[in-house]
């Protein structure tokens, strides 16, 4: 049994869902995503037991492309994130009725397939294929099942699609150039070994950066984000913000930094500064957002800025914190968007100005929402704190001012999140009836919260899982 099993399950699941018909689709999709989760847990056990669960097969002879899936701790952690979030996301959508739901859930599983592939692929071209493959389902999900005015939605989604695709093309160019240098091989080990001059590294680094900066997004490449988050159906938003963003961040660690370490070191300060600028900018913009989902989008911008800054520190702490924060942020942002969806289901609006006074009507929902809000502002005891603390610590080791500026996130974050919470949940009882969470919704919330709290106090399993592979990557970075 190796990692390709997960991919196979998800791919079969996608088709099975599509052919199972509209009524069964959601359940079949949930079943397959749970199977994928189970499979990844089994694989994790095997991995921890020292088994080799990677896979390398020759695929295309000329140019030399292999079907290489390499599962190290880092990749597995990301796969687990994806595998754990997918069922949660699918389950959270049970309260909604989607027309043509077989296609909808099929696309979700297909996207999970592509994203898992991205996390596992260790061949440049294979990775690129998965990377782009993940874009297609979300394009359709956002376009067909999104909300708001169809024309505006089309505009936003097409912008997103073309923008990210354009960025990725630079990455493809970089890969082709690299493979020329590596005697036609796209395998990651060979790419790591390529000796590049400083100038070459700079351009390669920049090409990768464009692709990732758009995907993550790092300012000023974020303009697609808020609109798409707002227009996409919440499930799509969750997939985007919970997992897909992490593809970019993961790729920074896996591909960009080790392949162009000299450039990474040379321009470290610039990229950290960009990340931190994102933190401050995102937080400030989030202060004055009227749409709940848009606000969360900007908060996400702020958080990923910090993660990116952490990755670019090139220290073990920075990378580790970044990965921890990726996972934590994945869960919390899914939870928050789900909360927005829960509100939308009842009030048919996400305008903050039209909300308020929900707390009296729904104590359970309020508590869960509040926990998520607090996790999002990295209260100690939640997983996000572990990540954020580690990242900020690593930044402080580079330059204390980075930590101070990046740390404004804990002030500004608290400001906009609590402001949002106050205007959405508190205040005089709303005249409209807000039913408290249903059992299904409650389970989704409970799973997310349980993960956040458990790893908030005991992040050791994840740290132990990712640390060896991060150390390996750091060795590659510091090799020359």
């Amino acid at each position: 049994m190796n990692v390709s099993t997960i991919l196979i399950i998800l791919l079969i699941g996608a088709f099975a869902t599509y052919f199972s018909g509209d009524k069964l689709a959601s359940k079949v999709a949930l079943l397959f995503s749970l199977a994928a989760l189970g499979c990844s847990i089994v694989l994790l056990n095997n991995y921890n037991a020292g088994e080799n669960i990677s896979l390398i097969n020759a695929w295309i002879a000329q140019p030399k492309i292999s079907f290489a899936l390499n599962a190290d701790g880092l990749g597995l952690a990301m796969v687990l994130l994806s595998a754990a979030l997918t069922p949660v996301i699918i389950f959270s959508s049970f309260g909604n009725d989607y027309k043509n739901s077989k296609a909808f859930y099929g696309l979700i599983l297909f996207m999970a397939f592509a994203m898992t592939g991205t996390f596992l692929a260790s061949d440049g071209l294979l990775y690129y294929i998965f990377w782009e493959l993940a874009l297609i389902p979300i394009y359709f999900i956002a376009l067909i099942w999104g909300n708001g005015d169809a024309e505006e939605r089309r505009k936003a989604v097409v912008k997103f699609f073309i923008y990210t695709l354009a960025g990725s093309l630079f990455m493809l160019t970089a890969f082709i150039y690299l493979s020329q240098k590596a005697n036609g091989s796209f395998l990651i080990e060979d790419l790591y070994k390529v000796q590049l001059s400083a100038c070459e590294q700079f351009w390669i680094f920049l090409a990768f950066f464009l692709a990732y900066a758009i995907k993550i997004p790092i300012i000023p490449f974020h303009t697609w984000q808020a609109n798409v988050y707002q227009k996409a159906p919440t499930v799509g938003t969750m997939l985007l913000s919970g997992i897909m963003l992490k593809m970019g961040l993961y790729s920074v660690i896996r591909w960009q930094l080790p392949i162009a370490p000299l450039a990474a070191k040379e321009y470290m300060y610039i990229f950290i500064a960009l990340g931190i600028a994102g933190v401050i900018y995102g937080s400030i913009v989030a202060l004055r957002q009227n749409d709940l989902k848009k606000l969360l989008a900007y908060s996400s911008l702020a958080h990923v800025g910090l993660i990116a800054a952490g990755s670019y520190t090139l220290t073990l702490d920075g990378l580790r914190g970044a990965v921890l924060q990726m996972i934590a942020h994945g869960f919390v942002v899914v939870g928050l968007f789900f909360a927005a969806e829960v509100i939308f289901r009842r009030f048919e609006t996400r305008e903050i100005a039209q909300l308020g006074g929900i707390r009296t009507q729904s104590p359970k929902f309020t508590s869960m929402f509040l926990i998520l809000v607090l996790a999002s502002v990295a209260l100690p005891g939640t997983f996000n704190f572990v990540g954020e603390f580690t990242v900020l610590y690593s930044l402080s080791q580079i330059n204390i001012w980075f930590a101070v500026l990046g740390g404004t996130t804990i002030i500004l974050g608290a400001y906009y999140m609590l402001r949002m919470f106050q205007h959405v949940m508190l205040g005089e009882t709303n005249s409209k009836v807000f039913a408290d969470v249903t059992l299904n919704e409650g389970i989704s919330f409970a799973v997310i919260i349980a993960v956040l709290l458990f790893f908030g106090f005991y992040p050791k399993p994840i740290t132990d899982l990712i640390t060896p592979s991060l150390e390996t990557i750091l060795q590659v970075i510091n090799k020359n």
Partner: protein, 632 residues
């Protein structure tokens, strides 16, 4: 060792258990039961604290408990562990002790509230976090508690969440605290960088080892101390981060008593005391602390002079008293600050609970201009509050006298100007406290007839805690009598300096004591003349003029902060949202548009004339053929 672990876990987890029970089953358990569970949970913690206290005093050795690894950072290893030494156990005692009294009080006070189970769950959660803060074995565990109590403070200030003003106050408290938290966090980073550990004990050793080397990186220490102090400023409401505390009075009165007077706001002092070995090495920062403490105490006292809301007066008095504690900390007199923390916890909790009893009796009226003459209706409340007021005013032989006197004495030995500032603040304290007493309890009742009709003494659940606290406020000073201080001896192992730096009582000391007493009595006298003899009642809001108006409006600090920080950030946010965001978006769309334009121009090339196409085609063919065959 096993025993200690269990004990520590029992200590921490009982309130947490209470929290869980109240959260999940509180509603179905009924009001009294849920209150009882909350109280019992804290009481158990209190009993455990007493046991631990006994153990510590008898063995004199700190108890260390390590649970498991928490966060791994390359050069730091952060455990989730507890350190129970003299300082933390002392704090535990009054946190859980006063905590259980206030829980008891709340059963009656909050009885009419439909969400009482939530109230108790939050209170329990608060106690849980406060205990974590106090007994954490390293700075990061302290930070859990630190932020956790901030959270509970947020929840409890905004407990009546239907009122958006209260929610604003809660939000403000949380954010102000977070500003301080950032400072604390940066301080933690710096210390972590310098010491390679965050564990108190190891940090102590490391700093002392490296201090002897006196290398250049030593400059980090003052910086770290300053950052830590910013954190303390946030939590303990010092200038410039004090404005949240008076607003925090929006919460129910027991909350004000527990969190915003007795326990949480002393966390800053706890932290500074805990890290005394860091602060001792940063003299400049210590001076800053002393100056800020003194200024805070004076500023808050002046504002307190004219406030009319009974809780606001107490709030400013708290800020002022905290300022005095920082004054002591600034001089390195940690044990003195701790002493004042304890006595202050007693009398301030009593005062708040008393005011709560008054408010309860008047059905929510907090304006002192509408009170008066409550002495007869509420004798127990009156007497307990009287005792506490005497204590806070520094009348001899009440607890406050000893602790405040020690602070002023320390100040006198270090810096005369700061001593003067502190003394003036103390006189003012005496004045406004008795202003409060006179306005509330003496003369005729100024409220409505209906309120007058319902005036009554509160129930025993309210009065018993009051009485206990009043007794403590009276005799609390005994733990550290001048010249024969049990507290100093008890705390001695914590401090690097020899504990023997006590002031032996000479003429100066007695003179100072006399001055303080006279000052206090002077304040009381002025209040007596103004509000008893002359029968003055503060003017209604619109008639206040001059200096009083500035004071009444708290020096317009809130407005200034609003204008300096909040508004610009909001304006910036608006600017970013409306211009930068649209600009960036337009830039991206612009790229698309440029492509479109180019394509549009390129379209003209496609004239549709087949003749031209063919002509160009032939030319191109010629070119290609020539290139392939001729260009060698």
């Amino acid at each position: 060792m096993e025993m200690d672990t269990n004990l520590a876990l029992l200590l921490v987890l009982t309130p947490f258990l209470g929290f869980l029970i109240n959260v999940f089953f509180g509603k179905s358990l009924g009001k009294t039961v849920s209150g009882a569970i909350g109280t019992v949970a804290v009481a158990i913690s209190f009993i455990v604290s007493v046991l631990l206290f006994n153990q510590i005093t008898s063995t004199g050795k700190a108890i260390e408990v390590t649970l498991f690894d928490w966060i791994q950072i390359s050069n730091l290893k952060i455990n989730l562990g507890f350190l129970l030494d003299q300082l933390s156990v002392l704090w535990l005692l009054f946190v859980t002790g006063i905590g259980s009294l206030i829980h008891l009080y709340s059963i009656s006070y909050m009885h009419d509230d439909e969400n009482i189970h939530k109230f108790f769950s939050y209170l329990n959660l608060f106690i849980f976090f406060m205990i974590t803060l106090v007994i954490g074995s390293n700075l990061l565990v302290l930070f859990i508690g630190w932020e956790g109590v901030g959270l509970c403070s947020y929840l409890l200030i905004g407990f009546w969440h239907k009122n958006q003003d209260y929610n604003d106050a809660a939000k403000k408290a949380f954010i102000m605290n977070r500003i301080g938290d950032l400072g604390l966090l940066i301080g933690i980073f710096l210390l972590g960088y310098y010491c390679n550990t965050l564990d108190y004990k190891l940090m102590y050793e490391s700093i002392h080892y490296r201090a002897t080397l006196s290398d250049e990186s030593f400059t980090i220490i003052p910086l770290a101390a300053l950052c830590l102090f910013i954190g303390a400023c946030g939590k303990s409401a010092q200038i410039p981060l004090y404005t949240w505390l008076p607003d925090a009075m929006a919460g129910p009165t027991p909350v004000s008593a527990l969190i915003h007077a007795a326990t949480m706001v002393t966390a800053g002092i706890f932290m500074v005391t805990r890290l005394n070995f860091v602060f001792d090495l940063a003299h400049d920062v210590q001076n800053v602390i002393a100056i800020i403490g003194a200024i805070t105490s004076l500023v808050a006292a002046t504002i307190g002079l004219v406030q009319t809301d009974i809780k606001k007066v107490l709030a400013y008095s708290t800020v002022s008293q905290l300022g005095l504690m920082f004054l002591a900390l600034g001089f390195g007199a940690y044990e003195v600050a701790v002493f004042h923390v304890i006595t202050h916890a007693f009398f301030k909790a009593c005062l708040f609970l008393g005011s709560g009893s008054v408010i309860h009796g008047l059905h929510g009226e907090q304006d002192m201009r509408k009170m008066g003459g409550l002495r007869k209706a509420m004798p127990i409340t009156f007497w307990t509050m009287m005792i506490s007021s005497l204590a806070i005013s520094g009348v001899p032989f009440f607890s406050g006298f000893f602790s405040k006197d020690e602070i002023l004495m320390t100040a006198f030995h270090h810096s005369i100007p700061l001593y003067v500032v502190g003394s003036v603040a103390s006189i003012m304290t005496a004045f406004y406290m008795f202003r409060l007493m006179f306005l509330t309890f003496f003369k005729e009742f100024r409220g409505t007839e209906e309120q007058k009709h319902h005036l009554h003494e509160s129930g025993s659940l309210i009065t018993i805690p009051l009485i206990i606290l009043a007794i403590l406020a009276t005799f609390g000073g005994l733990i550290s009598l001048p010249g024969n201080s049990w507290l100093n001896e008890y705390l001695a192992p914590l401090f690097t300096k020899a504990a023997g730096e006590e002031h032996h009582l000479g003429t100066t000391e007695y003179t100072l004591m006399g001055v303080a007493v006279v000052g206090g009595l002077l304040g009381i006298l002025i209040a007596y003349i103004k509000y008893f003899k002359q029968d003055n009642v503060p003017e209604s809001d619109e008639n206040i003029t001059g200096v009083a108006k500035v004071l009444y409006n708290k020096y317009y600090v809130d407005e200034a902060y609003n204008a300096i920080f909040v508004q610009p950030i909001n304006a910036l946010s608006k600017f970013f949202r409306d211009y930068i965001e649209t600009g960036l978006s337009a830039l991206v769309f612009g790229l698309g548009k440029v492509t479109n334009k180019i394509a549009f121009q390129g379209r003209r090339l496609q004239s549709g004339s087949i003749g031209l196409y063919l002509f160009v085609f032939v030319l191109g063919m010629c070119a290609i053929i020539s290139y392939i065959f001729l260009a060698q």
